[in-house]
């Protein structure tokens, strides 16, 4: 009696544990859908800004930590601000994508700063970046290279995943 009862009692707990483990197994990257991924091509070897809209289909918040690229030696997650009439750029640690929510990297706000390109990128090229999330999971996204004077208006960047 005193042996069997704890087992039946702990069964739901055990089940919950298995379910939870199953939930944890899905990585942050697996719940992220990326769209409107593009980067602005500037002349020479000037640093470029990359932008993307992230949608989190998961029940847990995800956080973008940065990105990796085979073409750019350095990729940093940055945020621009024009507070108090001064244009500034700050490195940021992470960008949270809320559960069942969206976060945007867009001109004048969050962006990935791509530096030291190994080979020149031309408008029309697709550049693969691996977005890195808080749990270390990665998501490969094709970024469409657009001309320097491209704006958000009428952004032709197709759905990338």
């Amino acid at each position: 009696m005193s042996f069997r009862l704890p087992v039946t009692r702990s069964l739901p707990l055990l089940l919950a544990g298995i379910l939870l483990a199953g939930g944890v197994h899905a990585t942050e990257a697996e719940h992220i859908r990326a769209s409107q991924a593009w980067l602005r091509v500037l002349p020479g070897d000037l640093p470029a800004g990359a932008y993307v809209t992230l949608e989190n289909t998961g029940d847990q918040p995800a956080s973008l930590r940065g990105a990796e690229s085979t073409n750019y030696a350095s990729v940093m997650l940055h945020q621009s601000s024009t507070e108090g009439g001064m244009g500034r750029m700050n490195a940021v640690d992470r960008l949270v994508v809320p559960a069942h929510g969206k976060a945007s990297l867009a001109p004048g706000g969050y962006h990935l700063m791509l530096m030291k390109a190994a080979s020149a990128v031309k408008p029309g090229d697709k550049v693969k970046l691996a977005l890195v999330f808080g749990d270390g999971s990665k998501l490969d996204v094709d970024f469409l290279a657009r001309p320097a004077n491209a704006t958000d208006i009428g952004a032709g960047a197709e759905h990338a995943h």
């Binding site: 020479g44 024009t82 001064m86 750029m89 004048g108 320097a148």
Partner: protein, 212 residues
């Protein structure tokens, strides 16, 4: 007889109405040419900021002064080429503004003044501004001359600490200054102003012609 009389009176009356309308109309026109009644959408700084004046080097390596741009409506913006986000965004928006102005835009010049002359040589500036708009000019020059221009318009910039690999950012004022064809400071725009406002005001300014 009576009929003819009343007709003449009617004619006289209508003439008077026309004359009044003409006077009123011309008064309105005069009013429109006076600055206070121009419906600017951006911040009107007429009379509050000094005329366009500087000694810099253009993106062909040629020494230039503010005088060289008399006869053009000037859109002045401070920035630097190693700025990957806000500067290209502003210049791309100014390019769209110029496109929306159509042939009128030929009467305007975008002057992009570098706050990072150490890295922004005329060659770098030339490739950079031409990637945005054919009416954009890249200005660089001696640090003290850039500082003088920046101070003249109460603008500011600060070089941020080196990130260790020779890379650094420059924080700078995000304002856009608009000068008329006589080099008089007229309007001030910020990134918060809708693009329509810039198009509207530049259209007005370009349609006005030189006042002197």
């Amino acid at each position: 007889m009576i009929r003819i009389d009343s007709r003449t009176k009617l004619r006289r009356a209508s003439r008077l109405v026309w004359l009044l309308a003409l006077i009123l109309g011309s008064l309105l026109l005069v009013g429109c040419n006076r600055d206070e009644s121009v419906p600017w959408r951006l911040t009107n700084v007429t009379g509050h900021m000094p005329d366009l004046d500087f000694k810099l080097v253009d993106d062909h390596g040629k020494p230039v002064t503010g005088q060289d741009y008399r006869g053009k409506v000037v859109v002045l913006y401070f920035g630097y080429t190693h700025c990957p986000d806000v500067c290209p965004l502003t210049l791309a928006q100014l390019h769209v503004v110029m496109q929306r102005l159509g042939p009128l835009a030929d009467g305007a010049r975008i002057l992009f003044v570098s706050v990072d002359p150490a890295r922004d040589t005329p060659d770098v500036m030339h490739a950079y501004v031409n990637a945005f708009d054919p009416r954009a000019v890249g200005l660089s020059g001696a640090p003290r001359e850039i500082e003088a221009l920046s101070k003249r318009y109460r603008s500011a910039f600060t070089r941020e600490p080196d990130k260790g690999d020779g890379q650094y950012e420059v924080s700078h004022s995000s304002a856009i200054y608009v000068f008329d064809r006589d080099g008089k400071a007229r309007l001030l725009a910020t990134p918060g102003n809708p693009q329509d406002d810039l198009v509207h005001d530049l259209h007005l300014l370009l349609s006005m012609g030189a006042s002197s």
